[in-house]
Amino acid sequence: MTVAPEKSAELVVPEGHVKLTIDGLEVVAPKGELLIRTAERLGIVIPRFCDHPLLDPAGACRQCLVEVEMGGRPMPKPQASCTMTVAEGMVVKTQHTSPVADKAQQGVMELLLINHPLDCPICDKGGECPLQNQALAHGRADSRFHETKRTFPKPIPISTQVLLDRERCVLCQRCTRFSSQIAGDPFIELLERGAQQQIGIAQEKPFQSYFSGNTIQICPVGALTSAAYRFRSRPFDLVSTPSVCEHCSSGCAERTDWRRGKVMRKLAGEDPEVNEEWICDKGRFAFRYATAADRLLRPMVRDADSGQLRESSWTEALRVAAEGLAKARDEAGGVGVLAGGRLTVEDAYAYGKFARVALRTNDVDFRARPHSAEELEFLAASVVGTSPESGGVTFRQLESAPAVLCVAFEPEEEAPIVFLRLRKAARKGRTKVFHLGQWTSPAVDKTFGTLLPCVPGGEPAAIEGLFFNSGTAEAFEALSGSGSVILVGERAAEVPGLFSSVLRLAERTGAKAAWIPRRAGERGALDAGVLPNLLPGGRQVTDGTARAEVEQAWGLAAGALSAEPGRDTDAILGAAAAGELGGLLVGGVDPYDLADPELALRAIERAGFVVSLELRPSAVTERADVVLPIAPSTEKSGSYLNWEGRRREFGTTLDGTGALPDCRVLDTLAVEMDADLFTQTPAAARANLERLGATASTRRAEPPAVPAPPAPGAGEDGVLLATWHQLIDNGSLQDEEPNLAGTARTPVARLSAATAEQFGVVAGEQVTVATERGSVTLTAEPADLPDGVVWLPLNSGVSRLRRELGAGHGATVSLRPQARGGNS
């Protein structure tokens, strides 16, 4: 029996949608959708250059012309499908069905190519160039233009890392729109008119943006190219491996392109939940530290006779390390573990387990920066275990929050992707952003934010004053809106009482608090239990049930784990310096990141036996007894937890280099000490961690309840120091990158006009900031800081505050103008 084909059911048009026809196919689209997107959903590709889903429509390149018919009447000319929204009853014909659209597109392509130099062989975009591809697919075979092409001098560096070739430009304005809309750094703009129209920068104003690398990636031609990647390779040479950024706690998806065992470049990966399609320049360009000439490749043991480090075999180094650590553990007062904040979850878990199982101690801490007991309580009570699944704050929530308050957190410098989300949210006018800080930094301006000024160390008092005493404050009301968020940064640990105030504020307003550390590994190490008071999975050391779970999973005798919380980083170093600790196991820790570098160095020297797991020589390896080389993130697999608590898993990019991840080194070292960690590979460590599961214990950690201290004063002669890290600074993961370093913000000392006058400082001239340890001299720049406060970058150029001054955020320093012609 033949059945007549059923007529396809009429398309149902839901509320807020329209029905239209594209290339003879009926489609329902939400109102306001751009034609080019609707066509994309149907699988119809319309060529385009200027259109980008995350940028506002511009209609600049005219490549996406299609024929449109409205209400039975064709529009007189082909229309740009990237700017036209869908409408009821529209009939659209693309180049596939309309000769008019096809001819129009070919004509546009011919015009775009008139002044294009066609220097594809020497262009870095060659092989992955949308213009090249579309010229082949939709262009004419030859040009009718035989006159002289317009030429420009090329290439011109618009910053140390971005090169501009104006001849190749098709004026799609993706770069200018990205810079002004997404990044908020409109240093690059269209100049001139007519045939001379070109992209350019203002004189003496280079393209200094933390996000300039994205313009290279979204440029549809080779007009913007990377200085670091210039002429390095072609797309067909490269193997592309998905990866995760190892720099900040945003956990951006990246694509690592490598050739012959060497990483050539990194590009932004796509993850709408996290980084959308953008990454910062640090994530994009800072990767050559792993191939630095001084990279440690062989284990080293300190020679007993000469006192020098000498290369050794793994067998010897592990034996010496195991013997030394066992001796320090049993006879000399124990061993402390400083893991560092850049570990994957798997490696961090191995450090925590090594401390508890092999060294039988809770003296383990990942915080290689100033920290406090209050922070420990805060992390245990309200951060550990949160994730997008369990209702924690996410990037998306930032975008829909009615208000966001940044406390002791500088989003652009410390977590640039968080900054981009805040700017996106604020730009749409939905979110009000408040910054509790010292001065109107670029991030405050670019997030259309409101500065709630306070002196460094006065943040808790400011919170109490602003929100509790005058309950009608605008910020308080905004934060009371449902879905509001408070973001706390790492320097909150330097301000006593701040975490407690934040929690009180969150409770009062109903806003959610989220902790955004600066380093990629801190959140993972927290959840993996690399803290003196926490076991993996947020289990408290003092909780008997939780301890029993861990003892069972790890195959330990009941009662093997100590119920006493261990020492934190400062206490471990203090004990080692006082000779109370027999040894130290140090991961990727730079002593100059710690609150007191002198104490740290003294502790490492005094400690009887020091084992260092490092990538490159450091102040720790210089003083260590055994140095074990470990793999950089490209040469191992693993996962980071980003600040949301989202797991960011990545595979090995460069296989077979022989470099071992920390978890493998620690596993073998533990075997030498007769303990089994079961962390031979990151996968094994992950499985071992997952077997622990969630805790059955119902005990919750007590949140910190430190009363807010009054705002500090600096006394008559001193000023208070405000400081934070800049994104591009002296960090060791940015070594070997001169092009990136060229876009760092110039270190200056910022202070208010009144403070400058009080101390006789002239704007634009040198000023010296000093403590009894040392001094730093920088150019003074006026800013809207509270009086009696000076701001310096923490670790940029000569401004290395911890090393030179031994001071951090909230410290009291002295200030004096540098005499002209005097020594600096």
């Binding site: 062989p121 002429f231 390779s233 072609r234």
Partner: protein, 176 residues
């Protein structure tokens, strides 16, 4: 098998003695190849000695045997190897892989890569059969100068390409 078959066989041998010999007495008798024989590659030079290769990797892209490795480099004012921005910093052809198809020659946008008639490409060492840029570069003719040096024949690379044939002729005259 017939009785006369052995004789027949000797007959073939005997008659061959009066035919033209096709065997070549290589290497004593070294015969030239056909003019367009696909022999060893050569990286050509501009008349002033600058390299024509711009390191674009199109030859490597075209190669069906994956025998070519190229890495581009950036010409600077202090060290210029070719006219224009880019030159081939590293260039290797692996003759263990090369099948002599000549697709690389067709791909070359600057006529830098051409093939010579040289065919004595045998060795007992694999490493020596990977020819590097030094092996492949054309010899310096009279009037040429070993790069790096500044552009002698024009202001920019356009001058080299637009006036190329004329320059080559002139260089030839000078050489004579």
């Amino acid at each position: 098998m017939g009785v006369f078959d052995p004789l027949k066989g000797f007959g073939v041998t005997f008659s061959t003695m009066f035919k033209k010999v096709v065997t070549e007495q290589y290497p004593e008798d070294y015969r030239p190849t056909a003019a367009r024989y696909h022999g060893r590659h050569q990286l050509n030079r501009h008349p002033d000695g600058l390299e024509k290769c711009v390191g674009c990797e199109l030859c490597a892209w075209a190669c069906p045997a994956d025998a070519i490795f190229v890495e581009g480099g950036d010409n600077t004012e202090d060290a210029r190897f070719s006219p224009g921005e880019r030159y081939g910093a590293d260039y290797q052809i692996n003759y263990l892989r090369c099948i002599g198809c000549g697709l690389c020659i067709e791909a070359c946008p600057t006529r830098s890569l051409t093939m010579t008639n040289f065919y004595e490409l045998a060795d007992d060492d694999r490493q020596r059969l990977i020819f590097t840029k030094e092996d492949l570069l054309a010899p310096l003719l009279p009037g040429m100068e070993q790069p790096p040096h500044a552009m002698r024949l024009g202001e920019n690379e356009q001058d080299y390409y637009v006036n190329g044939p004329e320059l080559a002729r002139k260089a030839g005259e000078v050489a004579q």
